[in-house]
């Protein structure tokens, strides 16, 4: 068998003792296998992480933040009415190559148009390749929003929207809009193997794919011609390790450098390990208990307020999240712009709650149901346990809550149809825009639909006016004001008992330099360096 160049590059130096020029290899113990390398049809973080290293988007989120920064587009202009976006593309952006494909041109407007059409136009020959289910493109409302995507010249793309939509730019920074090579797609179509573009991907990103073995390993190599400069590490390896305890054992031994999703039980030991540091950040998520506001007794704001005061949030978060969550007072997480810190939290006060409940006409308490998800979610490690704690707190003000649960798919469907009185649920944001929380989860549009995400079925005109206005306003300062006000109304009207924002904890070995947590939960290795011992 032939020794590959990479093999020589890594192994030979590694086996000559103290070779000073050893290639820098960073090993990431990832939690599972990606489905493929086409983010347009993916929905899981595992798949996005695998693709993140390979592709670029027109614009991207800054590393470690939610701010949108230029990437394949160097700059852009938005028309005064907010419906026409003109992107000027970066010149000289090179594509990766592999054994089946050698690019003959740089990235240009054709590739950007291809990215849209592949997900948008059913007649595009790639629409159905790998999967016709372009989840995010549809979920972000693109088919309705997009009017046209035109190539003006090789390096200019003009996108026209049907109506102004402020979060559009943030949407373009999401993984689904990763840009693939049109030239590669055409070549593979001609060769009769169109699905290869998603299995042996060609991107413009900082790392190119060398090898993928399902359930074992993903191997990347730094792309020397990357437009923003070669990555500081030479080789990047995803060592696929599904069990959290095993990931921790590997991290301890130095068999990997970064690991996601630690076991809460291991955190103490991790903090004590001198070779490991734990990075921490409140994630873009919220876990909540929604009151069905169109049903008795929760159509009365006094009942909702009384319930909010009756439940001891801090005790619940401490007991269930074990240090991996912070109590939530707003529906959006603190790391998101426009978070209103001046909102006053409802204080825990069973006495006052009881009084308020009596005022609302329930002096002897009441009976209600309380739904708990059957599965662990990123924003809620144990909904059942939380429900039990809530039940005990509510009993103190004379409320008898019956805990109910369904199989997960059924649960969500029934909650969206509003069959509950109280139901727990949560949300993980994916474009860093408050609209993604406030309008999607609490707006009238999604309250009125039977499959909408507003399971409180809460449609409050003053609130809805604010978030709808913010959606079509392009000035961020103005939007911030609108959203801050909306949060005040939210608190006053109490459609939810906001439970917690889960904190992401990332154990990283000390020799890893400048790894930044992403609020989206992505793992980006461009810009990361490693100190060899």
């Amino acid at each position: 068998m032939k020794k590959s160049a990479l093999f020589a590059a890594i192994c030979v130096p590694a086996f000559l003792a103290a070779a000073p020029l050893a290639a820098k290899t960073l090993v990431y113990c990832s939690e599972g296998s990606p489905e493929n390398f086409y983010p347009g049809v993916n929905t899981t973080g595992t798949s996005f992480d695998a693709a993140e290293q390979i592709y670029n988007r027109i614009v991207e989120f800054e590393r470690g933040g939610t701010k949108v920064v230029p990437s394949l587009a160097e700059k852009w202009e938005v028309s005064a009415d907010g419906t026409v976006y003109t992107f000027s593309l970066r010149k000289g952006v090179k594509w990766h190559s592999n054994k089946n494909f050698k690019p003959t041109r740089d990235m240009n407007a054709d590739d950007i148009v291809f990215m849209f059409e592949r997900q948008w136009k059913e007649e595009n020959p790639f629409f159905k390749v790998t999967s016709p289910n372009h989840s995010y493109f549809n979920d972000m409302g693109m088919p309705k929003l997009l009017k046209s995507v035109e190539k003006v010249d090789d390096y200019t793309v003009r996108i026209t929207l049907n109506q102004p939509e402020a979060p559009f730019l943030a949407n373009m920074a999401m993984m689904w809009s990763s840009v693939q090579s049109k030239e590669y797609a055409d070549a593979m179509m001609k060769a009769g193997t169109p699905e290869k573009i998603d299995q042996e991907p060609i991107g413009t990103g900082p790392f190119s794919l060398v090898q993928y073995q399902k359930d074992a390993i993903i191997r990347y190599k730094a792309f020397p011609e990357y437009w923003a400069g070669k990555a500081k590490i030479d080789d990047l390896v995803f060592s696929i390790t599904p069990d959290a305890s095993v990931r921790w054992a590997k991290l301890q031994k130095g068999e990997c450098h970064v690991m996601p999703y630690p076991n809460p039980a291991d955190l103490e030991a991790m903090k004590k390990d001198p070779n490991v540091q734990i990075l921490e950040q409140a994630g873009l998520n919220v876990g909540y208990l929604a009151y069905q506001t169109t049903k008795k007794p929760f159509d009365d704001v006094r009942v909702r307020k009384a319930f909010n005061m009756a439940m001891n949030k801090k005790a619940i978060v401490d007991a269930v999240f074990l240090g991996s969550g912070v109590p939530a007072k707003n529906p959006i997480p603190p790391s998101m712009w426009s978070y209103n810190d001046s909102v006053k939290e409802d204080e825990y006060n069973p006495e006052a709650a009881k009084k308020l409940l009596a005022e609302a006409g329930y002096p002897n308490g009441l009976e209600t149901d309380l739904w708990a998800m059957p599965v662990q979610r990123p924003y809620n490690p144990n909904a059942r346990r939380i429900a039990e704690l809530m039940q005990a707190d509510l009993a103190k003000i004379g409320v008898k809550a019956e805990i109910k649960s369904f199989e997960w798919g059924e649960y969500r469907k029934r909650a969206q149809a509003g069959e509950h009185q109280m139901a727990q649920l949560g949300w993980t944001g994916d474009n860093g825009d408050p609209d993604n929380f406030l309008h999607t989860l609490l707006g009238c549009a999604s309250a009125q639909s039977n499959s909408g995400s507003n399971i409180a079925k809460w449609c409050h005109k003053p609130f809805d006016d604010l978030v709808t206005k913010a959606k079509v306003t392009t000035n961020q300062a103005e939007r911030t004001k609108l959203y801050e006000q909306a949060q005040l109304i939210f608190k006053e009207q109490a459609p939810w008992f906001t439970v917690a924002h889960a904190v992401q904890l990332k154990p990283v070995r000390k020799e890893v330099v400048d790894f930044k947590l992403s609020p989206f939960g992505r793992h980006t290795f461009y810009g990361v360096d490693i100190n060899s011992k």
């Binding site: 296998s33 929905t43 549809n138 979920d139 699905e195 359930d215 060592s239 095993v246 054992a249 499959s451």
Partner: protein, 336 residues
């Protein structure tokens, strides 16, 4: 003998149909809609939901679905994974060698330790060795695989630094899969070190997966041996003045092995079940892990295909065991 073989082989057909029935219907009895599960929190547009149902054939009556499924299976088409869109058969064949490699090592480990331990325990009945073997094998038999695997990792990998934590080979090696059996592939590559790395990675999973079969084999060998040693012809052999070694090795062992071979055949099923857990702990890229993922994602085609293929493998191994049985024990091939 031919008749014996034919009878055994023909018994396979109803069993095979039974497996397809189970694979098809049992999975559908489990609550949860696969498309809803795919959707997560975001939900899915009702029109799209219908469209996807059509794509995956869920809109047909269930019996029709089964009929289509069976006719496809018979043509060797197990469908495509709903998640990766890869043919189930090709995913299975890419991952199966890893499972075989692990299972083979585990069963060899169990045999190499279990047979001698059982034999010696039987010969030295009621000795400390006998009690030791029985005690340890009882413990081994009752050991929860998950816990056992993690304990071994903590002890041998983290504490003593003797073995790697998980995986099949050090990430430094880039071995192009040829046969899929890493031990062979590394020998074919020109890096001898890679072979040893693969061996080191095999040690802990082998022990974990081999523990239950080891315990069963040791106990079974011991009791079968005890029974045979009490037979008249053994007494006769002793009376004739044969050496103890000859009695045990030539006269007793061959007869004692018959029930042991049956047990080994039955252990194949146990091995595959154990492999699911072992592969998950040790990040071993085999079919066990693949099936677990499929369960979580409600990936029906993979679950059906995987269960079916594993069923066929277990069935074939048991058939081979049956045939081997006939070889060891001539009485069996003459009974009908």
């Amino acid at each position: 003998m031919l008749r014996f073989i034919l009878t055994r082989v023909s018994l396979i057909i109803p069993t095979f149909l039974g497996i397809t029935l189970l694979a098809f219907f049992l999975i559908r009895l489990v609550p949860g809609d696969p498309i809803e599960t795919l959707a997560g929190e975001r939900g899915i547009d009702p029109a799209r939901l219908e469209e996807l149902r059509k794509v995956y054939g869920f809109d047909q009556p269930i019996l029709v679905q089964y009929g289509i499924y069976l006719s496809r299976v018979l043509q060797g088409d197990l469908g495509k994974s709903m998640i990766t869109q890869e043919p189930v058969l090709s995913e299975f064949s890419a991952l199966f060698p890893a499972t075989i490699e692990l299972a083979t090592c585990a069963i060899l480990f169990a045999l190499l330790l279990g047979l001698p331990a059982g034999i010696i325990a039987a010969i030295k009945r009621n000795s400390i060795f006998d009690h030791g073997v029985m005690g340890i094998s009882l413990a081994g038999y009752s050991m929860p695989i998950f816990w056992w695997g993690l304990i071994l990792i903590l002890l041998f990998s983290v504490q003593f630094d003797l073995t790697p934590v998980s995986g099949r080979i050090d990430v430094l090696y880039y071995i192009e899969p040829i046969t899929g059996f890493l031990l062979i592939d590394t020998l074919l590559s020109d890096e001898p070190e890679a072979f040893w790395s693969a061996v080191r990675h095999l040690i802990l999973p082998t022990i974990v997966l081999g523990t239950v079969p080891l315990a069963v084999i040791a106990r079974m060998t011991r009791s079968a041996m005890l029974e045979v040693l009490g037979e008249d012809y053994i007494r006769t052999a002793k009376a004739k003045g044969l050496s103890r070694f000859r009695i045990v090795a030539l006269h007793a062992l061959r007869n004692a092995l018959i029930p042991v071979v049956t047990v080994i055949g039955l252990q194949i099923g146990v091995l595959f079940t154990g492999a699911i857990l072992t592969e998950t702990i040790f990040s071993w890229p085999g079919v066990g892990k693949w099936l677990i993922d499929a369960i979580f994602r409600r990936d029906y085609p993979v679950l059906q295909g995987g269960a079916l293929l594993l069923g066929v493998v277990v069935m074939s191994v048991n058939l081979l065991v049956d045939l081997a049985y006939g070889l060891i024990n001539p009485r069996i091939r003459h009974t009908r």
